[in-house]
């Protein structure tokens, strides 16, 4: 089995899966009908991308693995998503800030991944770029609206950005698997995206009249399976059905 490639695909797919799961929690619970549908649409886009990644990963793994077994039957330590995307939906500002901070990265990543030497990854990236472009536009608009809105909305958005900032640097951490894949022209060296990322985010936060946090302390661990305390609850919710009724189908 191509272990490096398999692990690298999980890195890509797990971010989509967990970000999608968090947004999907708003299904029927969004602040308004319109934002509820918007968030679940984005969630479904991300699940679609996850499926493409995991079908590919299942092919590589063999041994009867399926997209479902990869998504639902791993243990917490085996998930490689960044800590950012597993943070909970405290309020709508928090949800939009988290998703925006991920979306900017996601689009930059896909724009590079479309030139991957691996034709499957390249195809997934090409298909996903349009979706990710809309996501960053939608969430960026909300960061601006709430940041440059009322005193209360500004405070909530600023708090969300302050809290989540500490998870941004992990996006650019290069794992051993990702490094090997980048050297082979299959993966993207995410460290090269860092400067553009912070430029884009800083410009939007300034437009939103928000203060860019100056903290130099950053959390990490997600990519190596060390997650925050929120991850277990998320997985319990997400995996319950497949664990309680193995192999069940709709």
């Amino acid at each position: 089995m191509k272990t490096n490639l398999y692990n690298y695909i999980l890195e890509l797919g797990d971010n989509c899966l967990i970000a999608g799961q968090r947004l999907g929690e708003l299904c029927g619970h969004g602040p308004s009908l319109e934002t509820d549908i918007a968030c679940t649409n984005i969630s479904l886009d991300l699940f679609g991308q996850t499926r493409s990644y995991f079908q590919y990963a299942a092919d590589i793994k063999g041994e009867g693995a399926t997209e479902d077994s990869i998504a639902f039957l791993r243990y917490e330590r085996e998930y490689k998503n960044v800590l950012l995307v597993e943070q909970p939906n405290h309020d709508f500002a928090y949800t939009m800030a988290r998703q925006y901070l991920y979306d900017v990265f996601h689009l930059l990543l896909l724009e590079k991944l479309q030139f991957s030497q691996d034709i499957t990854l390249s195809a997934i990236a090409k298909k996903s770029i349009k979706e990710a472009s809309y996501h960053v536009r939608f969430t960026g608009d909300w960061v601006k609206r709430l940041g440059d809105g009322t005193e209360e909305s500004h405070e909530k958005m600023q708090n969300a950005i302050n809290d989540l900032w500490t998870y941004t640097n992990e996006l650019f951490e290069v794992t051993e698997d990702a490094k090997m894949m980048a050297e082979e022209g299959i993966g993207v060296d995410v460290a090269t995206l860092k400067e553009t990322y912070y430029e884009k985010v800083t410009a939007l936060l300034e437009e939103a009249t928000l203060t860019v946090p100056e903290s130099k302390y950053f959390q990490k661990g997600g990519k190596s399976g060390i997650h925050t305390e929120h991850m277990g609850y998320l997985l319990a919710d997400m995996q319950y059905m497949q664990r309680a009724y193995p192999n069940m189908k709709w």
């Binding site: 009908l33 319109e34 549908i37 649409n41 939608f138």
Partner: protein, 94 residues
Amino acid sequence: MNKNWPLWEIFVRSKNGLEHRHFGSLHAADAEMALENARDVYTRRSEGVSIWVVESKHITASNPEHNGELFEPAQDKIYRHPTFYDLPDDVKHM
């Protein structure tokens, strides 16, 4: 104070060459948000290629109480329909 966002009427063109049709209404803080919301609420199953949004308050509607004087006089004027012509077989979609 009204806590809801203003109401917008949504018009969607489902294919190039067809006209925009009224699809429904939704709430949004401004026109830009109305477009984004309309995209998610009404075109997520690829129903459209173009969207117009108009704030509902800008639509002037006829008063149903005046339906009698507005619309009934037309009912006995069947000669306003072109129904007295024999259509050639070659003419379709009439």
